[in-house]
Amino acid sequence: MTRALGWLAALALVIGLGAAFGYAPREAVQGNVQRIMYLHVPAVLTAYLAFALVFAGSLGYLFTRRLGWDRLAVAAAEPGVLFTGLTIVSGSIWGKPTWGTWWTWDARLTSTAVLFLVYVGYLLLRGMVDEPDRRARYAAVVGILGAANIPIVHFSVKWWRALHQPSTILGPEPSPIAAPIALTLLVNWIAFTLLFLYFLARRAEIARLEESHAG
């Protein structure tokens, strides 16, 4: 089952990569460097999915006290941190040639960095506790606070980078994006999600084995 998922993810990644370099057109303004987008955007979407699962696993554990929920949380948190790191690094590499800087304290960059740090802390905490039940309890508490904190972090950084000035608010509207580019993004998003699910299954299985060895 997990093996099949792995092959499916690999296949999707190959197709995604092919689409990113073969099918998607050279972007009109940015040129080929825009192809980093097919890595950057799927990575961040996958990271959001991962952290939502950490939250679900944390809540589930506190309610039911079943270690299965805790395995879900840790199995999602590890790849979540990995994908967040990839998001930051790929975004940075994309930013240098286009905006002219590796890093800027922009609202979205900053809140992604904070997200990364919060869940690195979460994983560090897990590493410091050996008993599965105690580890699961502490991690769940930190996971719940981390999730509840995300909107607050978002608004604090958003306002922090704002200059106050009355201005007309322009309503949001869908951004124009060429169809082949959107399609390539979609394919890569699916591929990353499959890869994440594969990692999730493998990591959860490892957590299960560790518990059975310890107990």
């Binding site: 802390g121 769940a140 930190v142 509840a148 607050i152």
Partner: protein
């Protein structure tokens, strides 16, 4: 006074008594604050204008650093004095203990903050009296948020390895909103502007306080279970 609040009060009272007898945390924290002032002075140099622009950040840097030391210790004391079992065995809702510990921590933080607010003007030649009443509002909201998370995480890290390292690593990223909000509001207040100018930041701090407090009250019982 309901039984719940009485139990919270007992925890506060116990901590205040212990502290009054031993004076071990507060004295060291106050001394630490004085040391911080020295370090800030050395780092920034004698130029007045530089100190004034950096003041909101420096104040909160001082509070946060003192908080990392003070809040991290609050449950360690129980561990060292073998009182943990007693807390675990306390009947009734465990969140009362959280509330009591939180109140005690806010108290300690308030003392340290008061000390820094007296020392800062003396050492840096500033006048904060005009802004003080408005500053207290910002301080209260910011400190509550800091202490709410610090108390919860302090209880967790008191029972794990490498706690001195892990506590700030967990606390500081979670406190980014409080730090940003408090520093920005302090900046507005120290510039002599009315509180209404900082309304947005005060709202953010208040919302953060509510969220942290609720999460703390709800999840504390899971932290306090038998270690």
């Amino acid at each position: 006074m309901s039984a719940y609040l009485r139990r919270a009060w007992i925890v506060v009272w116990k901590d205040v008594l212990t502290e009054r007898r031993s004076k071990e945390s507060l004295n060291a924290l106050l001394f630490f604050s004085v040391l911080l002032l020295f370090i800030f002075q050395f780092a920034l140099g004698p130029e007045r204008a530089r100190v004034e622009t950096a003041l909101p950040g420096l104040l909160w840097l001082g509070f946060i650093l003192a908080g990392v030391l003070g809040l991290g210790r609050s449950f360690l004391v129980e561990q060292e004095n073998d009182c943990w079992e007693g807390l675990v065995l306390t009947p009734g809702d465990k969140s009362a203990i959280y509330l009591g510990k939180l109140a005690g921590n806010v108290l300690v933080m308030a003392v340290v903050e008061a000390a820094l607010l007296v020392l800062f003007p003396v050492f840096f030649g500033l006048d904060l009296t005009g802004a003080l009443p408005r500053l207290v509002v910002v301080l209260a909201l910011g400190t509550l948020g800091l202490a709410a998370v610090g108390t919860l995480f302090g209880a967790i890290t008191a029972q794990v390895r490498a706690r001195e390292l892990l506590f700030p690593v967990l606390l500081l990223p979670a406190q980014v909103p409080v730090l940003l909000g408090a520093v920005s509001a302090t900046e507005i207040v120290l510039a002599g502007q009315p509180l209404a100018e900082a309304a947005q930041w005060l709202k953010l701090l208040a919302a953060a306080d509510v969220v942290y407090l609720v999460v703390g009250l709800l999840t504390f019982e899971f932290v306090l279970e038998g270690a």
